[in-house]
Each structure stands twice: as C-alpha cells, then as structure tokens.
C-alpha cells in the first residue's frame, strides 16, 4: 500500500475512475428515474401506462391485423385487429384520387420532377445548383401543365379536369402551391406593413389582420359560395383554383407576421448603413435587410409551412377529395363500413412523416446558417 502511493510525485497521480455508484446504468436509473419519491411514482405510472397501451396497440396494428381480404367480413373472419386490406385495396384512390388510370404516369413524373426540383433548394452543395434553381423556379408551371394536360406548342396531353384531382396528390398540389407563393407575398406584405407610405401600410395592416382574424374554413366557404358573385358576369373559374388562391392568401397573412418579427429584430443601423452606401430601397432590402431577417425567421416560416400543409385537409369540407376526403367517402361504402380508425391512422402517418421531415429540416437549416451573431 505504502509503496504504491509513494511512486507518484504530488500532482502527478493519474485520475482515478469515478466511484462506481455515480456512473453506469445503475446510477443512470437512480438519477433519471428514481431520484425522488415523486419521480418514483411518475416512473411507475409511466411504466404501467406503457404496459397498458403498447401491447394492445401492437396487437391491433400488426399481430392481429389482416392485410389481405375481399371486404370487412373477410377481415373479421381472419382476426380482430386492424383491417389493412381496406387500405391496400384503396391505395391507388388514396394516392391519385380520381385521376384517370391511364394518365397516372404524369402524376408520377411530376412527383419525380418535384424531388429533382427540391434537391437544389434544400441542399446547397448540389452540383450545378444555379441551373437547378432555374429548374425549381420553372417547376410549378411544368407540373401544372403535366397535371392539367392540354395542348402546348408541340406537346399534347389529354386534358384532365381538376375535379378528378384527389388523394395525396391533391394535398401536394395545394400544399406546394401555397408554400411556393405565400412566401413572396408574405415578404411583400411584411415590407408593406413596415413601409413609410401610409396608404400602403394601412392596406397591408388591414389585410393581414383580417386574414388572421377569421378561420380558414370561412374563407374556403367564401371561395366556394360567395366568390362567384364578385367575378365578372358569365365567368366561372375552377373551384380548385379558388381554393389555391384562398389558401395562399391565408398563409401569406401569417407569413407576413412571421417575417415582420424578423424585420423588427434587425437593428436600424443596418438600413442606415445601406442608405449611407447609396443603396436604393429595394437594393438595401434585397442585399442587406431581408437576408438577415429571413434567416432569423426560419423557424417561424417553416412552422407556417407546416401549418399550411396541415390545413390542406380542410378542403374536404367544401367537397374536394384529399386523402381524408377519400377515406371518409370510402367509409360510406357498405363493403368497408366502420373502419374509420384504420383510415385516419393511415392518413395521420402520411402527414406525420411529411411534417416531421419539414421540422427536422428547419432545425438543420438553422444550425447551418448560424453565424455566431446570436445574442
């Protein structure tokens, strides 16, 4: 004993490992699960809850579930669990709505092009990113033509009326159009609200406050019932287009407020410096203020996108058939009646995956754009 301690000069003794009872799984459990009487009670409640909930849900969703079958009775004959046969039979309907079967390749192509258009926007190390961004800017028009069809120059596709749009495809159409157009309109509204020109300012404030004060569903009702009165007599424009306009305006009202928050966080010295450099209004906004303001507002912007994407489900109330609408319509089929849990869970998973992806991407973007100026 004595000899070993004497081998070290003072201060040179290597660090001893921490005491056994402060590291390792046992200590972790003690620290994180059983640190106080309240914590012990909470832990046991949680464990009890998990034991009560997880096995029945797993049984229902997988072990007792039926994946193939003719109708509901065939499902019931095979097991008590979920009847996923319903979803697999209706899968095409859920994806394409009533889009003609022979033209499904156009939707698929539009979807593949969508991914191609998203890559240069989302990932800044894409090779030839500059040209990719031109493609992304052109994408909404390319996709619009692909989905709608008709004659264009030398191309000729069978026209498909928008009433046949549906399913996840409709969600993507409404969601992406809204996202693509609400950001620029929102920026303009936010700048208008900060403007020194009183008339522009008043108009922007009134518009934003009106949009934010009423629920989207009433605006959609206005689009479906009342809007035709305000159009020139005899003109009639497409219900889907009216919905797209309303959804975009709605989202841009919220977007404007998010961006206004970002604009207000930029110190006045930035605009003053830009003025001193002789930049004009639009130049100073484009080069100095907006890049900083938009960076700050990324979390809010993505939240608005997610909100808009989720709000696309409201179109079922005015009779468009997004996945939820298709699901509800399918539920009234006597062959499959009463399977609402399966339908809603299936649609929920779809929305969860896309929204979760968006929120994770926003976290990544925030980290990437962080330049250390944060106070």
């Amino acid at each position: 004993m004595n000899e070993t301690t004497q081998q070290y000069k003072p201060g040179e003794h290597p660090d001893l490992p921490p005491p056994r009872n402060l590291v390792g799984p046992v200590a972790w459990v003690r620290d994180h699960l059983l640190s106080s009487p309240t914590n012990i009670v909470l832990t046991f409640l949680c464990v009890w809850f998990l034991i009560k909930v997880i096995p029945p849900v797993l049984d229902w969703a997988f072990l007792d579930a039926v994946f193939t079958g003719e109708d509901r009775n065939a499902c019931r004959a095979q097991g008590d669990g979920a009847c996923w046969a319903f979803i697999s039979e209706r899968f095409k309907l859920f994806t394409y709505g009533f889009y003609p079967e022979s033209e499904h390749w156009r939707v698929n192509l539009a979807f593949i092009l969508l991914i191609a258009a998203l890559v240069p926007i989302l990932y800044d190390k894409t090779p030839f990113r500059k040209y990719g961004l031109y493609f992304s800017a052109a994408y909404p028009f390319i996709a619009g033509y692909l989905l709608l069809g008709g004659d264009f120059l030398f191309l000729s596709l069978t026209p498909v009326p928008t009433t046949q749009f549906g399913g996840f495809m409709l969600t993507l159409v409404v969601g992406i159009t809204g996202i693509a157009f609400s950001l620029p309109i929102g920026i303009l509204l936010a700048l208008g609200r900060q403007s020194k020109l009183p008339i522009i300012k008043v108009f922007c404030v009134a518009f934003i406050e009106f949009i934010r004060g009423v629920p989207l569903i009433t605006l959609l009702f206005v689009a479906s019932t009342m809007l035709s009165y305000f159009l020139p007599p005899g003109s009639n424009f497409d219900l889907l287009l009216r919905v797209l306009i309303m959804v975009t305006l709605f989202a841009s009202g919220y977007m404007a407020e998010v961006i206004r928050g970002g604009l207000q966080a930029i110190p006045k010295g930035q605009t003053e410096a830009a003025d001193a450099m002789g930049l004009k209004y639009w130049q100073s906004m484009r080069l100095i203020v907006l890049p900083q303001a938009l960076k700050i507002s990324i979390p809010g912007i993505v939240n608005t996108f997610i909100g808009l994407y989720k709000d696309t489900t409201l179109v079922i109330i005015i009779g468009l058939l997004d996945p939820l609408g298709i699901g509800r319509a399918s539920l009234s089929d006597t062959k499959w009646t009463g399977l609402s849990n399966e339908v809603y869970l299936f649609v929920a998973i779809f929305f969860f995956l896309s929204c979760f992806f968006m929120s994770r991407y926003s976290l990544y973007l925030e980290k990437k754009l962080e330049t250390g100026h944060k106070r």
Binding site: L197, V222, F230, R328, S340, N341, F351
Partner: protein, 398 residues
C-alpha cells in the same frame, strides 16, 4: 474664357424629375396604389350588383326573422325549429363560445403539465411527453377531431349496454349521460358563502401582503384561501343536509331519459381541440421556463427561498412574460379551429348561420359576412383581453 460656362445639367423630362424626388415619388406610388385598390373593390362591388340583379336577389337581413325550421341537437338556450334564424345564430354563437372556453381551460391545464413534463429529469415522462407533442403537432387538427369522433361513435357501446360508472353516469356512443343537479332553496346559502369566499380571498391576499411588507410575517395564503373558497361552502353544504338532488339518467327503451347529456360531437371537438392545442402550449411553456436565466434560481436559493417559492415567486412570473404573447395566439387558434365543428356536425356559428341557414335561404352574401364579422369580433376581443393581461404582468421599467 468666360464662355466656357458651367456645364448645364442635362435637361430631363418632367416625369423623371418627379420620379427622382423622394417626396413626389412616394405620393405618386400611393396614389397609384390607392387607385388600383379602389378600382379593384369598385369592380368587385359592381360585379356583385350586376350578378345579384341577374338572378333577382337583393341584399337584406330580413331573413333573420323568418322561422329557421331546422333542429339543433345541443343548445344552451331554449330553441326549437319554429324559432327564427337569428335565434339559431345565437345558439351557434353560444356553442362556439362554449367549446372555445372549455377548450381554452383544458388545453391550458394539459399544456402546462406537458411543458413541465418536458423539463422533468425523469427520463420516461420526458420522452413520453416528447413523443406525444411531436405526434400531435405534426398531424392536422381536423384528423384529430375525426379520429376522436370516430373512436367515440364506433368504440363506445350503444345505450342498452352502456359503460356504467357506478350507476350514475353512463358512457354511450350517443353521448355521456350524467346526473343533473337540481337545487333546493337552501343551496343558495352555499352559493352565497362561495361568493363571500372569493371576495375574502381578494381582500386577504392584499392584507397578507401588507402584513408581510410591514412585519415580515408570512401567512399560508394559499391554504387559507382554499379553505375560504372550498372548505367553508363544503362544510355548510354538509351541515345544511346536502340541499341538492340529482336527477339520475335511466335507460328507457333505446335511450336514456333524464339527467343531462353531453353529445359525442361536443366531446370529440372539445377533446381533440384541447389536446391538439395543449401540445403547442406545452412547447411554449417549456421555452418560457428555459428562457429564464438559471442565475435567477440560484440567486433565489442563495437568499434562502425554498424550491416551490423560487418557482412561484421568481421563475414563473418571469416565464409568464415570455409565455403570454404566444399563448394568446394559441387561444385565438382554438377559437378559430372550433369552426371545424362542421366536419362532425356540432352546431357552431359556421354550421348554423353559415351552413344550414345559408343553404335554406340562399343568402350567401349576408350569411358569410355575418360569420366573418363574428369571428373578427371574437379575435379582437380575445387579443384585447390578452394584451391587457400582458401589460399587467409586464416588467415595470423605470
């Protein structure tokens, strides 16, 4: 030499000279903008007039006083199908307010709990709250409403084999049947005591603060006030011989009779809206509490305050300043999202005046305008109230 005069500035035309003057330019832009907006509205109104004339409709609110001739399943005031559209609208407004107020209360409670769970050191409860919040926030609220409604309607039994809660309340797929209290005259005494308890609380809190400021003596304010509000009336209730009778629902035929019933539509909407918004409130609360500097708690411990008093006197008042503004918009969201009631047939504003009344009378313009104005009013009222509250708790700067 003299002839080499000062170089003349190039003659520019009037338009570019006006455009390069900052003042005139702003006037020009505004005039153009105003003209464009005015022209836009003018064209819309003109179109509307022409279109309405073409189909022979006029604008009037007279239809509000015609009989509505449709039934509303759940109503806070007396209503039957012979009543007017106006009364139907009032029923709708009350139903919207009911679900909004109930939703705000429940979502605040659940939301604060979730926020605290997310900050807990307990791994399990923390992760459970995290999973719940992520799932709920990433799925549309309409889907939640339909899912909860589907669960109630499809999973709960028919009235004849209802889930029996100790023979007083019954859960069925036609709604939750509960005993209805009916008061005997003596019960008013209990109510008066309860009111007095509230008044006492207001006075006592001030008094306790004065005493503490003057002498440092500290009363257990919370327990005394709880005793005054709950304890005394409860005691009186027992002493007076429980002057309250319960009308218990009974199964007769295919449905329950008596008692009071909460419809599945209301329950589905209320639960779905509250649990959805609670997830957002949870994140707001978490952000608010983490934003309070840790040094504040340390300083408070150093002064010898206990953990609970640190929370209630130091951390929470500061966190509230951060929490209240986003909380306001969540309350507004609940109110606005309650319009999704129409998807499951709960009779709120949109379903009554903007739905059935609109379809029966064909007065799209009037009905939709009323609906929009009503929602605008609610939004303005809620944000005015929350602004007042926000101002009250704001940091007093010198």
């Amino acid at each position: 030499m003299n002839e080499v005069a000062i170089a003349q500035p190039p003659q520019r035309n009037l338009v570019s000279r006006l455009w390069n003057d900052k003042e005139t330019r702003s006037v020009i832009i505004q005039v153009i903008a105003f003209a464009a907006i005015f022209a836009f509205f003018f064209a819309m109104v003109r179109n509307a007039i022409i279109n309405l004339e073409a189909i022979g409709k006029d604008l009037s609110l007279g239809f509000l006083w015609q009989p509505a001739s449709y039934d509303i399943s759940q109503s806070l005031i007396d209503y039957n199908s012979r009543d007017t559209h106006f009364r139907a609208m009032i029923v709708g407004i009350l139903n919207t307010l009911l679900v909004a107020v109930c939703g705000i209360i429940l979502s605040t409670i659940v939301g604060f709990l979730l926020g605290v769970f997310r900050l807990s050191k307990n791994f399990l409860i923390n992760r459970l709250a995290y999973v719940y919040i992520e799932y709920v926030r990433n799925v549309p609220v309409l889907l939640h409403i339909l899912l909860v409604h589907g669960l109630i309607v499809h999973s709960l039994p028919l009235p004849k084999n209802a889930v029996n809660v100790s023979d007083t309340a019954f859960l069925t797929n036609r709604g939750f049947f509960m005993p209805k209290p009916s008061m005997e005259p003596l019960f008013w005494g209990v109510i008066i005591l309860f009111m007095l308890g509230i008044a006492f609380t207001f006075w006592f809190r001030k008094y306790a603060k004065q005493v503490q400021d003057a002498t440092g003596k500290h009363y257990p304010v919370f327990w005394i006030c709880l005793g005054a509000i709950v304890g005394v009336p409860l005691l009186a209730f027992l002493v007076l011989g429980m002057p309250l009778t319960w009308d218990i629902p009974e199964l007769s035929g295919f449905n329950f009779k008596g008692g009071m019933v909460i419809r599945p539509e209301f329950i589905a909407l209320w639960l779905a809206l509250s649990l959805y918004t609670a997830a957002f409130i949870g994140e707001i609360v978490r952000a608010g509490i983490t934003a309070v500097n840790w040094g504040q708690s340390e300083a408070s411990y150093a002064l010898g305050l206990s953990r609970s008093r640190t929370l209630s006197l130091v951390v929470i008042p500061q966190a509230m300043r951060i929490i209240v503004p986003p909380l306001t918009s969540q309350y507004l969201n609940i109110t606005k999202n309650s319009s999704l009631a129409i998807a499951i047939g709960y009779m709120d504003i949109v379903a009554t005046i903007g739905g059935i009344s609109l379809n029966q009378t064909g007065r799209e313009m009037e009905c939709m305008t009323i609906v929009l104005l009503l929602y605008l009013t609610f939004s303005l009222l809620i944000s005015a109230f929350m602004n007042w509250y926000n101002k009250r708790i704001k940091l007093v700067e010198r």
